[in-house]
Symmetry: C2
Subunit: 148 residues, 2 copies
DNA sequence: GTTATACCTACTAAATATATAGGTTTAATG
DNA sequence: CATTAAACCTATATATTTAGTAGGTATAAC
């Protein structure tokens, strides 16, 4: 139903946590899982996917952990989702024309491709930094409200 | 993976068929299924969903069939997808804030809502007529090419 | 060499998607 | 008014995907 799976959502949430920690010591997968209330074992499947796309790096062994490989402003939501759950394709034939022999004359496919491009553009218009800034702004605001 | 299910795709394809037939006699579900290569039994689940949203009407009994209730230009892709597979919600909390008690302070949710609105707007920017016009234009063009 | 960490593989359970089957209701028609 | 053609409805079955668990391996610090 055009829904992001938990893989994508967890990936985004883990990245928010890493962005909040950007510049600091590597963050333990375990800590990310606890802070974001994600099953640790499941997150062990997701972070490596994001690492494979180069958005995060990891240090193994004691004092290890995960970190962003570039500033949050250079990482888009689209990239995170792509890394976490594979190519964003509203319908399969967008990514894989061959699966349908009608791909040459299919107007539906042309349309889906256009739509896909537009959705991708939307997702790429949000950077991790945008999200974190919202986070900080909102928690400031909430704090202010609570103290009235 | 942010994919439309076959329900949505089949729904759209069935509607294209009905649009091509707009103004004519009611079209049999069976014929739609054959022309669009959709399992007849499965389509029997989908068309009623679209009917419930009022996009199509049906006549029962002999000489019955399905038809559009309004001109193709007044029917958007978003409406068809909504009718076929329910509310478009990139993540559940967009449609249903209550499922998460953090909904008030969650910046992620704010963002998902924005994205959802934008995607909906994209889908609503395509009408059935647009699609059919493309279809006709393309088949003209293909015919021309084949006859060279 | 012990400990803390990322990493890897296989398995499992649950949910969802994709149908199929069989019967019921409605309306036209000879 | 019986037959037929169609939409409509409900239950069941199968396949696929999602989400998670378990258990072990590799690596690095101390």
């Amino acid at each position: 139903m055009m829904k992001l799976s938990t893989k994508g959502r967890y990936g985004v949430r883990a990245m928010i946590e890493l962005a909040l920690n950007y510049g600091g010591k590597p963050l333990l997968l375990k800590d990310i899982a606890v802070r974001q209330q994600i099953s640790e074992g499941y997150l062990e499947h997701i972070l490596p996917l994001i690492k494979k796309e180069g958005l995060v790096g990891a240090i193994r062994g004691a004092n290890g952990g995960y970190f962003l490989t570039k500033p949050p402003i250079e990482i888009t939501l689209g990239e995170i989702i792509y890394a976490s759950e594979g190519r964003l394709a509203i319908v399969d034939c967008v990514a894989n024309a061959d699966i349908c022999e009608r791909n040459k004359e299919c107007v539906a496919r042309d349309m889906w491709c256009e739509i896909n491009d537009k959705i991708t553009a939307i997702l790429d218009s949000f950077t991790l930094q945008d999200i974190v800034e919202r986070e900080l702004k909102k928690s400031d605001h909430l704090a202010a409200v609570y103290y009235i």
